[in-house]
Amino acid sequence: MNDFVKLEEKPFFRKLDYNFIIVILALNVIGLINLYSATHGPNATEVESLFISQIVWLLAGWTIFFFVTLVDYMFFSRMAILIYALNLLAIIYVTFFGKVALGAQRWIDLGFFRYQPSETMKLGLIIMLAKILSNRSPSGQGMGFRELFVPLLMVIIPFGFVVEQPDLGTAMMLSLIGGSLLFFCKVRRSIIIGALVIMGLAVPIAWEYGLRDYQKNRILTFVSPANDPRGSGYNSIQSRIAVGSGQFIGKGFRQGTQSQLEFLPERHTDFIFSVLSEEHGFVGGILTIGLFGFLFGLALRTAANARDKFGVLVTAGVTAYVFWHMFINIGMVIGLLPIVGVPLPLLSYGGSSMLTTMLALGVVSSVSYRRYLF
């Protein structure tokens, strides 16, 4: 920190944050090993193609990652309004004309790929909020109502449409990411307390009028899993058995009876962590969560060292984005949270999740890359 200007320009490879890339690669490898096990049951035939396509998504993800690294992230700051607006339009489109999956309108069929605008909206929101909040100062008492009005509006508009879809998982994710960023920029204590009180009051009202039956069911089931053995109660119980039966070192690669023998639902997507815990035990689970922790630490360090306020905020936003996905997914798998359809970043099967996660991490990498001026 003693030398502000260094005239020699560093080559591309030396400016990359290798720790960050290695942690992501490690999680990729764990994800692939695990997905192979989850999709190659004793008599699996068709599911093999899932493994191949995940590798394709992964390669596409890394391409995006490096491409975004090379783009100056200030480009996103300049484009923030456009990116946000396009995403919002796409969300409005799917809300009214999108393909219906599991009772919620979520995606547009692009033929080779099901595009879910709500996924990219999360990134659009991070960029938009980072742009607005980089004009606010995090010192002093924190933001009051006047400063909060515009950023809150940015969260509430997409939130409203996603709730209408009704995709409560994504809506919750949007508010968690938005809330984290606002909190990061410091909000007046009185407003935080007020918001908590209002939320407390809103829960019973939402329960009565807002939630669909299947959503209520999931929450009731969380309280008492045996109430709905046909639905998520069964999933929740089977997942807990899978995780617990892994014990300290696990049953071994492809030896997990819960996952290999059909007892686990959604093995390759939302419940991938239970496959991991069953086959690789406490050791594998802690290692994976530890890698995630390491990833967040590196991202926050990047944020702390960023060149400007937008860089700090966008990195903090991406960290919140990956963190909340991981938190909700693993919390659900190990029975700490109700069943919500949220994938585990970098480990779950799925193109949408893989590409957006790699895109987001690419933005962090870009911020890290540009802390060097030359």
């Binding site: 920190m1 069964y234 617990g244 009876t257 007892f263 922790g293 944020a303 400007d308 903090a316 802390r371």
Partner: protein, 668 residues
């Protein structure tokens, strides 16, 4: 950090905020870590044991479909308990030896079992259950149970077997059930959206009423939780439906489907099918009450639907499918045929109402009629001489109706005949009814791009040419003569009732049209016109020269008309070649449609016997048998009285009844 550069003052402001983020991440790590410790280390051993020995597996209990009953509550379709053998592919360890063992017990070739498993794995994934054989015999169940423990994946499950006590007598009407096809699955889920949910492997109605009633008689499947060991075998242990936390799993009982009551009379149905069988005929029959309630419905040749319910062998199936006379086809609503002479009464109605003739007009009907330069033949070389409309119907004169056809023209015929139900779907509940065809000049221009030819009026007037009908249409059309103008919608489902007998749906006779009232085309048919035609039809079965006079029922007068539908055209010199000497597939179809009693009709029966050459010898005896059975059951006193009268007449020597075989040549 020598290379570090940035507006430090600006970004440094965030420093205290990072602490909160680091704190949250550490808390999350500790939370997850301790939860994993609790599950995997503290509860780990217990959960491991549970995962190895006791697994709760969700399984579906199929709900029984509703019963189908006849009009008086006699069973037409029921459910019988049975056993089926199934395989779970994911547990099979040695496919070939398993196939060998199981195949020898079930008498299925081992290669077929192995193929079935491989194909199902490919198509439905490794977890889809495969049905090996349904309706196992006691012996098979016993022998399978002995090898079950050494044969992972094999299961013997209780199942419900759909049973059709009428066997082949009502196969096409009732239909059969089978596993839902991959193509059907999304279609039905869309059709019954919000009401029923179909899944792979579900048994559904495939044809006939089983299909038409799917939405009404399907039950709601239940769920049970069974414990299986690591090889997928069901284990019986103390707490079979509690999980490790001691919580009780709620089983869901299947809900029995609702029952359906039909308008069918089981006795009449069997009598009708037996008439076809004993007389060795193929074809179709529809018997209905004059208000549209269907009493019997036969399509012959037939098949035994119980074979389908218990898993039919490929040989038996291919025999049914390749049969040239198409047992699977519901000929009552799916076979087109020319009506032939049974079309004539409708032409007579039009001619009388349009005042082309009066009931007393005498028309010259020679054996050959020249229209332009082309000769049109009667079935009798000598012709019928000078005839009234009564005689023309009684003896089925072609030339008389050629003349009517020329006078009327096709469009006037269409205006009278189409509203009586010919050339349009009747609206019966069964699926895949065909519409038939009643042509007019507009139709020909639209479909063929040609003008209507005057000569085509002649062939149309005797029910040949473009006219095409189904047996059910002819029943409806004759029924509208019997009731003097009332066109009913035929129906076979009387009501749907739940298991407690509460009526959920009820259907009543539905009058579609009354042609004695002025129609939208400005056409109506007076009751007096109907009376003339009805007298003609009465003479067909009762007059001295009637084409169906040989089949009588004591005490009951039938009224009807015979007809012959040409399967293919023949040149003039071949027309008089005896039909019976042609190969089977070239023989004409025979029609007889009748109602009874002639004066105050209660029942209408239409019969088409395919390749029987003549309506009077082929179809009329079947119609007579069915009508006789009806009156024996519902009005035995009328028949007794008739027998008594006949005996008295015989005592007074008038004239011996003519038991001679009818002369086939006397009918066209």
């Amino acid at each position: 950090m020598a290379e570090y550069i940035g507006s430090l003052e600006e970004t440094k402001e965030y420093a205290p905020r990072f602490k909160i983020f680091y704190f949250v991440i550490v808390v999350a790590f500790l939370l997850f870590g301790s939860r994993l410790w609790y599950l995997q280390i503290i509860q780990g051993e217990e959960l491991r044991r549970f995962s190895e020995k006791n697994r709760i597996k969700q399984s579906k209990i199929s709900a029984p479909r509703g019963l189908i009953l006849d009009r008086s509550g006699k069973v037409l379709i029921e459910n019988l308990p049975g056993f089926e053998a199934t395989l779970s592919p994911q547990y099979i360890d040695d496919l070939n030896s398993m196939a060998q063992k199981v195949g020898s017990i079930l008498s299925i070739e081992p290669e077929r079992i192995a193929n079935k498993v491989t194909r199902s794995r490919k198509q439905n994934g490794p977890f889809a259950l495969i049905r090996l054989k349904e309706n196992l015999s006691r012996e098979e169940v016993f022998r399978l149970k002995r090898i079950r423990l050494d044969t992972p994946g094999l299961e013997i499950r209780e199942s419900i077997v759909r049973h059709y006590p009428l066997q082949e007598s009502a196969a096409q009407l009732l239909g059969y059930v089978g596993e839902i096809s991959k193509r059907q699955l999304p279609l039905w889920n869309k059709k019954f959206e919000g009401r029923l949910l179909f899944e792979q492997g579900d048994i559904v109605g495939k044809t006939g009423l089983e299909e038409a009633l799917e939405g009404d008689i399907r039950g709601i499947d239940g769920t049970s939780f069974i414990q299986v060991d690591a090889h997928g075998r069901e284990t019986i242990s103390q707490a079979s439906n509690t999980n490790i936390y001691g919580e009780q799993f709620k089983e869901q009982e299947p809900i029995h489907g609702n029952n359906a009551v039909l308008t069918i009379d089981r006795d009449l149905q069997e009598a009708a099918f037996n008439a076809f069988k004993t007389q060795n005929r193929i074809g179709a029959l529809l018997a209905m009450k004059t208000n549209g309630e269907v009493l019997a419905w036969v399509s012959a040749p037939s098949y035994n639907p119980n074979d389908f319910a218990t898993g039919i062998s490929p040989q038996a199936l291919s025999k049914i499918v390749t049969d040239p006379f198409k047992p699977l086809r519901n000929k009552v609503i799916q076979d087109h045929a020319s009506p032939g002479s049974i079309f004539k009464p409708f032409v007579a109605l039009a001619a009388l109402q349009e005042k082309v003739i009066t009931p007393t007009t005498i028309v010259h009907a020679p054996g050959v009629y020249y229209f332009g330069r082309r000769p049109y033949h009667d079935s009798i070389r000598g012709g019928h001489g000078y005839v009234t409309v009564y005689d023309a119907l009684e003896r089925s004169s072609n030339v008389f109706f050629f003349k009517m056809g020329i006078q009327l023209g096709v469009d006037r015929m269409f205006n009278y005949i189409f509203p009586m139900g010919i050339g349009q779907k009747t609206g019966i509940e069964l699926p895949r009814e065909v519409s038939g065809l009643m042509p007019n000049s507009e139709w020909k221009k639209r479909e063929k791009g040609e003008e209507w030819q005057p000569g085509e009026n002649l062939s149309t007037a005797i029910g040949q040419g473009f006219v095409n009908v189904t047996p059910i249409q002819m029943a409806i059309a004759y029924n509208s003569i019997a009731t003097e103008g009332k066109v009913y919608r035929p129906f076979v489902i009387r009501k749907v009732i739940d298991q407690d007998g509460k009526v959920l749906k009820e259907h009543f006779p539905q009058l579609l049209r009354d042609v004695t009232q002025t129609q939208t085309t400005g056409i109506k048919i007076d009751p007096s016109t109907f009376k003339v035609v009805k007298e003609g039809l009465r003479r067909v079965a009762n007059g001295d020269r009637g084409t169906a006079k040989w089949w009588k029922i004591p005490g009951i007068q039938m009224a009807g008309k015979t007809g012959t539908a040409q399967v293919m055209g023949f040149s003039a010199d071949q027309i008089y070649v005896k039909c019976d000497s042609r190969p089977m597939h070239m023989r004409h179809h025979g029609w007889f449609v009748a109602y009874a009693p002639a004066e105050n009709p209660e029942i209408t029966v239409a019969v088409l016997t395919e390749h029987s050459c003549h309506g009077n010898t082929g179809s009329a005896p079947i119609v007579r048998d069915v009508i006789q059975s009806y009156f024996q059951k519902y009005h035995p006193e009328m028949i007794e009285e008739g027998i008594k009268k006949a005996a008295q007449q015989r005592k007074a020597p008038v004239k011996a009844p003519t038991p001679d075989v009818p002369d086939a040549q006397s009918e066209d």
